[in-house]
Amino acid sequence: MRYVTRRVGLFVITLWAALTVNFIIPRVMPGNEASAVLATFRGVNPAALHALQIEFGVNVHQNLIITYLQYIANCFTGQFGLTAQRVPVLTEIVGKLPWTLALVGVTTIIAFAIGTLVGVMSAWRRGGRLDGILPPMLFIVATFPVFFVGLLLLFVFAVTLNWLPLSSNYSIGATPSLSPAFIGDVLTHALLPGLSLVIVTAGLWIYSMRNNMITTLAEDYVKMGRAKGLPSWRIMTDYAARNAILPNLTGFAMQLGYVLGGSILVEYTFSYPGLGYLFYTSTTDHDLPLMQALFLVYTLAVLVCVLLADFLTAGLDPRTRDA
């Protein structure tokens, strides 16, 4: 129980830290945010300027603490302000969320499955010429910048071979629906971005899973399993893999932040209009409310996954259950 409490505590504190980062930075950094936006408007009257200042929370007439608390309350109720196009930030985010969720969700699951299986197997079957070459190669592929993989795939499949589309999430002019034709269209558009993500993420997970597995295989209880005459597959799963994966679940969940970062770059590379691409456009538009809200969304995503992993560990690992 104490373990769970500690992890929930970490969740809350990190979330608070993210919120505070969002709050502090515009007030500390050079350049007042309202004036940055205002630079795009000319001849604004003082009343409108004041309204804008309130909206951005740069209310010079209010106590800082109260502004801070109000800001936090606003975040919890989803009031993130308006984008540069005068659309509620929340609406914008909710609209683009499914695209990113689908892309990242599917690729992460696939990458985790591949990573675990290949990592475990490659650690189990040591020896042979492959053992010296394959792991470092995988490691290197995992360190390839994800946008390079994306550009390469684009070059080969979209530009040269013309098999797959160059950008976006569905063809121009197609109307969203649940028809097979549309879904097929979506899938062909999502294939290359998804592939880029899977390649890099799986590479990373294979590498860490393999290392964990190798360390676990050196443990005495695995030797014991052999000594008892247990069948190989049982040693591999019950004694090795389980002890390699379970205590490291939280670690894997924390790598999600890296995966999400990669998804932002992938969306930019492929002009895939999800949250990542939105993040990019918010920087070119100097759209601060949107940028801040997106930062929170990404942070929250990682925090939630880490907490889920913590709960899973607490439930399945007998040592943490008692901690």
Partner: protein
């Protein structure tokens, strides 16, 4: 003389690395008869644990048996395939490791670990499994209520006993133990050893017991093998070795331990440190630290010479050559 239960014949084990081959065990031979308690003593790094795991066929790369035979109940274990070995494992011989905290799977309950062992060796009903698990736990003085506990929930002594209980699931004829008492305090040590000896008397299994602690070996073993730098230094009946140690190393080991009963005397250690097995000394491996070294000890490697009932690897006894058996 009945057939020995276990006959290790000229066993050698090396660590094969990219850069060099390191010989950890060099042509070790020993025999164990049914019901016998053989103690193997030596300093850290002398190869005794490696020898043990080699006998039990539990080596992992880069360690490998490079030559020799391990004949157990008439079969050379070294030549068996994994599948054939699996039939023999645990049923005919079992292993007890040094630290139960590391040797027991932290994610499985004691009952589960007993169960998977029994399941691996034949069909037993859930009831039968439960009954047998309870039985072996009682043998070592653990209440059956702890069956569903996890290793981290038991005390150190209990964990060690649980390991011994697990080793007795099929009442094997040989139990190999690698320093099972080293991780315990003196009191727990004593009680565990007594327990092991009682069980041995009750069930008649043979024991190979590796330790660096001479005192443990003195009380409980029938025969003792002293190992140095991967080789057998001396092997014989416990009483002989303790009363009249032949090898200078054995003498040094015994001199380092005070006797509770005997007269007070100054303790002496053995000067120097164990050799690097990658580059062992020429001739007799012990000569750099030996107080009785002679000129030829730096050049000739001693064989095992027979002195009465004991075999000793020392040129001091070279007139009496070992019989080729």
């Amino acid at each position: 003389m009945p057939e020995p239960l276990l006959e290790v014949d000229n066993l050698s084990v090396s660590y094969l690395t990219d850069t060099a081959d390191i010989g950890a065990v060099d042509r070790v031979s020993l025999t164990v008869h049914a019901g016998e308690f053989l103690g193997i003593v030596g300093e850290s790094g002398c190869g005794k644990s490696t020898l043990l795991f080699a006998i039990a066929q539990l080596l992992t790369p880069p360690a490998e048996i490079t030559s020799g035979r391990v004949v157990f109940k008439g079969q050379d274990l070294v030549q068996l395939t994994d599948g054939e070995l699996r039939h023999v494992r645990w049923r005919d011989y079992s292993v007890v490791m040094q630290s139960a905290m590391n040797a027991l799977n932290p994610m499985k309950s004691i009952a589960a670990q007993f169960k998977d062992t029994m399941r691996a060796h034949g069909r037993m009903s859930a009831d039968a499994i439960r009954t047998r698990s309870t039985e072996v736990l009682h043998l070592v003085g653990i209440d059956a209520a702890h069956l569903d506990s996890y290793p981290h929930q038991l005390s150190g002594g209990m964990r060690q006993r649980a390991m011994i209980a697990m080793a007795l699931l099929f009442t094997p004829q040989l139990v190999i133990m690698d320093e099972p008492t080293s991780a315990l305090d003196v009191v727990a040590q004593r009680s565990l050893m007594t327990q092991i000896k009682e069980l041995q008397q009750q069930f008649g299994f043979a024991v190979i017991f590796v330790t660096h602690d001479m005192s443990v070996v003195a009380h409980y073993s029938d025969r003792v093998m002293v190992m140095y730098a991967g080789q057998v230094a001396e092997i014989g009946a416990t009483s002989s070795i303790f009363e009249r140690p032949l090898h200078p190393y054995s003498k040094g080991l015994l001199d380092a331990f005070p006797s509770v009963h005997g007269p007070r005397r100054a303790l002496t250690g053995i000067p120097g440190s164990p050799p690097d097995l990658g580059r062992p000394p020429s001739g007799c491996r012990f000569h750099p630290r030996c107080s009785e070294a002679m000129a030829q000890c730096t050049t000739s490697e001693p064989d095992l010479y027979i002195v009465g009932e004991t075999e000793v690897r020392c040129l001091l006894y070279a007139e009496r050559l070992r019989d080729a058996v």
